[in-house]
Amino acid sequence: MSARVQAGPFDLAAEMENFGRGAGAVVTFTGIVRDDTGRMLALELEYYPGMTERVLAEYGARAAARFGLADWKIIHRHGRLNLGEPIMMVATAARHRRAAFEAADYLMDWLKSRAPFWKREIGPDGAGAWVAAKDSDEDALKRW
């Protein structure tokens, strides 16, 4: 059960060693930097040291209580990330698959709109626009 924020890449296989030992189901989700505009080279992520780590851990604990998780892990990167690079991961472990899937989905929906990160698109000319929050992400929270 852990959450962390880091600049460097993470090794999914290494992170999953000893994760959720004894659980019947483990789900992992990895978010990848993609280009929605056709002219983006990288993303730059700003965060709020202290608050961000605390919020990630808080949502992890909420997911654990709600879905009866045996284990959970959240890793979110900050700084400059190139197209195609992994930006974050969540892993959930539960006795049965449905709880593990739902907990991962729940975590992703909440982290999208409540984790203190701010993305900026970097184009060929340098720093570009801040990414605006989407209404659809806010709407997704109503499912929970």
């Binding site: 709020y48 709109s113 990160f117 701010w118 605006a132």
Partner: protein, 83 residues
């Protein structure tokens, strides 16, 4: 009271600095915003549309009517875009 005020993303850019330490008597976040917006044109432009700004008191999300009480740190930022 002395208060550390932090800015993130485009609020940081508009104001031109990531944080400042201020002396204030503001009772609520709303009062603090009015006071800050009065400082200069950069602060005024950052706080022009409060519908686009989120706030935290001592690293907990808070709404504009939240009292500052013994707050030590206040942060202003746009809606989050994590994940």
């Amino acid at each position: 009271m002395m208060l550390d005020v932090l800015y993130f993303a485009w609020l940081r850019e508009r104001i031109g600095q990531p944080r400042e330490r201020i002396e204030t008597r503001a009772a609520t976040l709303r009062d603090l915003v009015a006071e800050l917006a009065d400082r200069d044109e950069w602060h005024a432009s950052a706080f022009a549309d409060m519908g686009a700004v989120r706030c935290a008191i001592d690293q907990e999300l808070a709404d504009l009517d939240a009292p500052l009480d013994d707050a030590r740190e206040v942060a202003f930022f746009p809606p989050m875009t994590g994940g």
